[in-house]
């Protein structure tokens, strides 16, 4: 049987783990937000029909989702809640995720706008902001 000190230590370990994952998830959400911010709002994501932007998928690591060509014409809509709800399942050690743009021309768009690489460059900023939000005692 664990003594009261050990119980306290284990409880603290669980709290630290929960905070670690909360920071990881929050940073991922901010990263996706950064990467997806349209040029018109100060970001780097080019938006015309929003097909590329709305093609962002969050999924477990494994095979990439298939790429799809732009079907043309109409307007599309990015649903951040859908992506974020998957990102909220991420854990830093056991459940890592993949973010994929399934729009076939994503690589070309990235070459011209670097919305992904610039957001990656901001990763430490997103982690720092998330760490402040979930600083000790706030979760």
């Amino acid at each position: 049987m664990r003594g009261p000190a050990a119980v306290k230590v284990y409880a603290e370990i669980e709290r630290v783990k929960a905070r670690l994952n909360a920071v990881y998830q929050e940073a991922l959400i901010k990263f996706a937000e950064d990467m997806q911010r349209p040029v018109s709002q100060g970001g780097n994501m080019p938006v015309k029909t929003e097909f590329l932007r709305s093609s962002l998928e969050a999924s477990p690591m494994g095979a990439s989702p298939p790429l799809v060509p732009h079907p043309g014409g109409k307007q599309y809509h990015y649903n951040a809640d859908e992506v974020n709800s998957v990102l909220r399942t991420a854990t830093i050690r056991k459940h890592r995720l993949r973010l994929t743009y399934t729009a076939e021309y994503a690589a070309h768009a990235e070459h011209n706008h670097r919305f992904r690489a610039l957001a990656v460059q901001n990763w430490s900023k997103h982690v720092a902001a998330a760490s402040t939000k979930y600083a000790a005692g706030r979760l």
Binding site: H108, R114, A117, L118, Q121
Partner: protein
């Protein structure tokens, strides 16, 4: 015109180095927002440069804004040249901006804070492109 803006000075320093280094190899450079006509009789490939500033990295109390961003230098070949020569060119581009390289211009120091890396190659209608990403901060 003397440059005074920080980002202009950073871009000037980095693109200036690129021009000098490319000149040593005899490879033409397509600079951002400048007229350029590819001529594959001059060399097998050319370099396409793009300069991307990012939102500031940090704001210091006494040091002011710490800016960062990406210089993208792409090796552009004609199609059907195979993958190997293209990657060889990408390696040559990486050596132009080694990690910890410091460039000074107009009182600003720009540092290459990460080893440059080649990004995924892709096709255009008549060209094959390998981008090399150089991350800088200033």
């Amino acid at each position: 015109m003397a440059l005074v803006g920080k980002l202009a000075l950073v871009a000037d320093a980095m693109l200036g180095r690129l021009e000098t280094q490319a000149g040593l190899l005899g490879i033409p450079v397509a600079m951002p927002n400048a007229a350029f006509v590819p001529d594959f009789t001059v060399a097998d490939w050319f370099i396409e440069a793009r300069f991307f500033p990012n939102s500031p990295k940090a704001e210091g109390i006494t040091t002011g804004l710490m800016d960062h961003g990406i210089l993208q230098i792409s090796a552009v070949f004609q199609r059907n040249m195979g993958a190997i020569v293209v990657l060889e060119a990408a390696e040559a581009l990486k050596t132009m901006f080694p990690k910890n390289l410091e460039l000074f211009n107009g009182g600003f120091k720009t540092t290459v804070h990460r080893a440059p890396y080649a990004s995924s190659p892709f096709d255009r209608v008549d060209q094959y492109v390998v981008p090399v990403i150089v991350e800088w901060s200033s």
